[in-house]
Symmetry: C2
Subunit: 250 residues, 2 copies
C-alpha cells in the first residue's frame, strides 16, 4: 500500500500558469528546473489533453478547500497552493533549495517577499492605473511612474540586495554558502529589468556588482542553462511583467 | 545556565515600526496583542530610552547578517526578521495563532500574502505614481486608480476572501476551526477600507457577509477589544496606508 504522503511525492507536480508569458510563474519554473524536479506545465499542454486556458479557468473556479486568488498555483498531490513566494518556499523546503535551519528559512522568505515587492513595482510601471486597461490608456501615468521607479526604486532595491549578498556568508549568494531559490528569483528580476529597462538597469548594475555576478552565476548553472536554451523558456514579451517600451527607459 | 533558545524566548520581542501610523506594523501588533505576547514597540518609546525615529534609522542602517529593506522588523533574541507576512507567520507559528499541520500553514501563508497584495493595492490608490511625491502631486492619477480599485479590485479581493471563508471548515474563519493570524489581518484591512472608502466598502461588504462577520468577531475578541480601546492603538490617519480622501470615494 502506498501512503498518501508517498503517493503525493511520486506524482509530478502540476504547475498552473498562463501559457504564453514568463510572469510570476517563471519564479516557480526556475525552482523546478534548477532542482531537477519533475513537473507538468499544465496550461502549456494541448486543450484536448486538459491544458490551455481552460485549465486555468477550471482551477480558479474550483474553490475546493483552498481556493487561489490568482495563478500561479501548484498541485502537489492533495495540496493545492498559490502565491508565488509561498509555492517557491514550499518547493525549496521539500527539495533542498534552501538551507535546513529555521533562521535561514525566515531570512530566505524575507528576501523572497522583497523580490516579489520589487516585481510588483516593476509591473506597475506599465500599469500604474488599472490592470484592466491597456498600457496605451495609461501611458502618461506610466511615464511618470517609470521615472520614479528607475530613479528611486530600482537603485534602492538593487542596493538592498547588493548589501544582503555582502552581509551573508560572503559566498556570493543571498542565503548561506550555496545557491538557494531566492538567488534564482533575483536572477529572474535582473534579466527582466535588463529586458524592460536596458539603459537604466545597466547604470544601476554598475553600482551592484554582487547582484550582477549572482545573476551570471545562476545563469551558468547546468540545469538553469539547459532550461534557458530549451523551448520551455518563454521569451520575454509585452504581455508579461517585464515589458520593453522604449519611452519608459530614456 | 540558560540556553540561547530559552533566553530568546524570555526576552520580550522588539517591534520596530514608524511610531505615528498603523501601517504594515499593525498586522504584527494585532498578532502580538491577540496572542497576549509581551513586546516592546521600540520607536514609540522616548528617544532618550532608545526609541523614536532614531531606532528605525539604526536598524535599517545596521546591515548585520539579515538586513531589512523596510520596517516593520522584529527582533526575537538573535533573530532579526522583516517583511510583514514573514513576521506574522513567525509569531503565529511560535505562539499558536495558526494550526499545527503543514497544509494549514501553507494555506494560511497563501491567504496572508493575498491580504498583503490587497494592502499594497489599497495603498497605491493614493500613491499611484511615486511614494516619494505628495498625494496632491498625483491626485488625478489617484482618482483614476481609486476608481479601478473600488470598482474592480476591492470586489475581487473581498469576493475571494468571502469564498475562502466558505470553502474552509465553515466555522467562520479563514483557516481551520479557530481564529488564526490571517483573520486578524483581514479584520485590519476591512476596518482600513471602511475608514478610507466608507461608501464603496459598505456596498462591497453587502456582497461579502462572511467577511463582515469575521471582522466583527475579531473585533469582539477580548484581547483585541482591549487593544483597540487602549492608547496603543494609533488612530487611522492620512499618513498611513488607509487614507480618507473623499474625492476618491464618491
Amino acid at each position: 500500500m502506498t501512503s498518501a504522503d508517498e503517493s503525493s511525492a511520486q506524482q509530478p507536480y502540476e504547475l498552473i500558469y498562463w501559457p504564453s508569458i514568463q510572469g510570476r510563474g517563471e519564479f516557480v519554473r526556475l525552482v523546478l528546473e534548477e532542482g531537477g524536479i519533475p513537473y507538468e506545465d499544465v496550461a502549456r499542454q494541448p486543450e484536448e489533453e486538459g491544458g490551455g486556458m481552460n485549465a486555468i479557468q477550471e482551477i480558479l473556479g474550483d474553490i475546493g478547500q483552498t481556493p487561489g486568488f490568482a495563478v500561479p498555483m501548484l498541485r502537489a498531490g492533495d495540496l493545492v497552493i498559490s502565491q508565488t513566494a509561498n509555492i517557491c518556499l514550499f518547493l525549496a523546503t521539500r527539495h533542498g533549495l534552501v538551507p535546513d535551519d529555521e533562521a535561514s528559512r525566515w531570512h530566505a522568505n524575507q528576501l523572497q517577499l522583497t523580490v516579489m515587492d520589487f516585481v510588483t513595482e516593476a509591473h506597475d510601471t506599465h500599469h500604474p492605473i488599472s490592470v484592466a486597461d491597456y498600457y496605451e490608456d495609461q501611458k502618461e501615468a506610466a511615464k511618470r511612474r517609470a521615472k520614479a521607479f528607475i530613479e528611486l526604486r530600482m537603485p534602492k532595491f538593487l542596493g538592498y540586495f547588493e548589501r544582503a549578498i555582502d552581509a551573508g556568508a560572503r559566498a556570493g549568494w543571498l542565503v548561506g554558502e550555496q545557491r538557494s531559490y531566492v538567488d534564482l528569483s533575483l536572477f529572474q528580476v535582473v534579466r527582466g529589468l535588463e529586458y524592460a529597462f536596458p539603459n537604466a538597469t545597466a547604470r544601476c548594475l554598475e553600482e551592484a556588482p554582487n547582484v550582477a555576478a549572482l545573476a551570471d552565476r545562476v545563469e551558468a548553472r547546468p540545469n538553469v542553462a539547459a532550461y534557458l536554451n530549451s523551448e520551455r523558456r518563454i521569451p520575454f514579451n509585452e504581455d508579461g511583467i517585464f515589458r520593453h517600451y522604449s519611452e519608459l527607459d530614456p
